[in-house]
Amino acid sequence: MSFERIKEKLNILADAAKYDVSCSSSGSNRANKDKGLGDSTGMGICHTYTEDGRCVSLLKILLTNHCIFDCAYCVTRKSNDIKRAAFKVQEVVDLTINFYRRNYIEGLFLSSGIFKSADHTMERLVSVAKKLRLEENFNGYIHLKSIPGASDELMREAGLYADRLSVNIEIPTREGLKRLAPDKNREDFIKPMKKVRNEIIQYKAEKKIIRSTPKYAPAGQSTQMIIGASGENDYQIMTASNFFYKKFNLKRVYYSGYVPISYDSRLPQIGTDVPMLRENRLYQTDWLMRFYGFDVSEILNETHQHLDLEIDPKLSWALRNIHEFPVDVNRADKRMLARVPGLGMKSVYKILHARKFRQLNWEHLKKLGVALNRAQYFMICNSHVFERRDLEPSKIKGLILQNSKSKFRNATSSQLNLFG
């Protein structure tokens, strides 16, 4: 290795990859056979975190930032005047192995600008994964980008060596995509997603019959959408997410607040705030859909197209559906407990087990770690303290906001800062 040249490439191609939010390294189980290198235990590991708080689990790089496309929102777009670089396949392999041996990373996340053609690029991504698996006997995590428009044969091969595959939709609606990336087709994004979905279904079916069927993308598929670049409302965004979760069995959808990097008039101006609070609310909604049993239409619909930035979506739903409350903490089923604002799934788990031994009261709940500042308005239990019935939803909201200290308070405060 020539460290100096690798260093320069790494700086350019890691910097270009950082806007892809995906950092997952979980969901795959890959044992270390024949004293090879690495294993994956199904539970991901974050080996460090960036200074903006994102997990660093994988070596996340582009193979190259040369690209034939000119997407307005993208830092590597064709017309952007930046330094270009490209890794050789063996350089990526060596870098991955040496970082992994030092326990810096769980594995590799490999994306790329698209040079020459989709298949030409996809071929190279696949050959990195293949070399790692077959030549280096590497059992760590590999996440490959699916290049939009790539052929079925290449997607089939990609999944044999990678744990996860992903193609970023980026712009949530067809109209938005047309405006910002006119030379791209939404259908090209859907194509590899569809192929991977079908291969996974087939793999699962075959594995029931033949146990030694080789793995195919055991960690599934994911995608990403940019928030705030093209004017979609929250309803449109989460409807798109719901579509991808349901139709393509995605494991994850990521939401990335648009970081202004372009002077293009079709985009928010440089200096516009990154919509981090909105992004956070979208993630909260995503969690409610995947783990708390909510349907997307309960949270966002024609009547409610924007998430409340002041309060989380579960609390917002509860205030709009106050007739469902209060919930008796000693009797309610898991689904309903999970809908109480302030009760996370861990608290629900503890409550379900603890109440087998005795009736729970407020003191017990406080010790369990329940966020009583919110939960108290929506629950009853084995005690008369704290009971507050028949409060108006707007009153409850006011009380909760008054007593909480949101980490986002500054972002929404319109008060002047006398000392700032």
Partner: protein, 256 residues
């Protein structure tokens, strides 16, 4: 009158103490590890010798009453080395044996909730150490790492590193507790090491480490710097994820 029971600090030693408590029906005890004993003003003190047979009997008894997760909680809580954790564990074990049901999930019981929380803290640090260990390649082809965890988690992460790095010799050394685990391509051994006086755990000296080691650390530091998005910077969140006490031995936090 409280009786102080002193043991050798090992888990087997602790289980031997539990055996003694039951055998002699002791009611009011304070379990302390040797070298750490705080004198009881009025009570007597007895040294309990580690007895493998006694320890095994207690452990088998626990296995009958708890799930493997529950047994894990006992061991993990013990590894916390918290002051007086032995007494909390004794209370827990006594409740476990007394009850006809498995009570490990009775979270409204304050002792059980406390053990659950201690286990969670130890598990979190175990997971952090699986993440934050930074191997450095020595001149003798050994991947060496040093850590300084709050809890005694090094024995808990041995299995992880053995299966993951099966094809490289490695050694992870706990600076605070002055012992390491060494994998020789076949087995993991506990080792005690003497370091030269001028050995600095935070530095990667050319006297001990391979030439390419600093090169790879520089690549890693550059990579780390490249991943940051300045307009989203949030050091509060960063420090919550990577507490400052770990920075000393993280390659990406060393000066460039």
């Amino acid at each position: 009158m409280q009786k102080v029971l002193v043991y050798d600090g090992s888990f087997e030693g602790f289980l031997s103490v539990v055996f003694k408590v039951y055998e002699e029906k002791l009611a009011n005890v304070d379990i302390q590890r040797e070298g750490n004993v705080q004198a009881s003003f009025f009570g007597e003190s007895e040294e309990i010798v580690t007895n493998k047979e006694h320890a095994d009997r207690v452990w088998k008894g626990l296995k009958k009453k708890l799930t493997s997760f529950g047994c894990n909680q006992v061991f993990y809580s013990f590894q916390s080395e918290l002051i007086s954790v032995e007494n909390t564990l004794l209370d827990y074990i006594q409740q476990v044996f007394k009850s006809t049901l498995n009570i490990e999930k009775d979270f409204s019981n304050s002792t059980i909730l406390k053990i659950s929380k201690i286990t969670k803290s130890v598990s979190r640090e175990k997971h952090r150490m699986e993440a934050f260990v930074r191997f450095r390649l020595t001149k003798d082809d050994l991947y060496f790492a040093n850590i300084e965890p709050d809890f005694n988690v090094l024995p808990l992460i041995a299995k992880h590193f053995k299966s993951r790095y099966a094809d490289q010799k490695w050694l992870i050394y706990d600076i605070k507790r002055k012992f390491g685990l060494y994998y020789n391509l076949e087995n993991v051994e506990t080792v005690v090491l003497d370091f030269p006086a001028h050995f600095d755990f935070t530095k990667t000296s050319g006297d001990f480490f391979a030439d390419q080691e600093l090169e790879f650390q520089e690549l890693w530091q550059n990579y780390f710097k490249s991943t940051n998005i300045e307009s989203r910077k949030n050091m509060l969140l960063h420090v919550r994820h990577v507490p400052k006490r770990y920075w000393k031995y993280l390659s990406e936090k060393q000066p460039l």
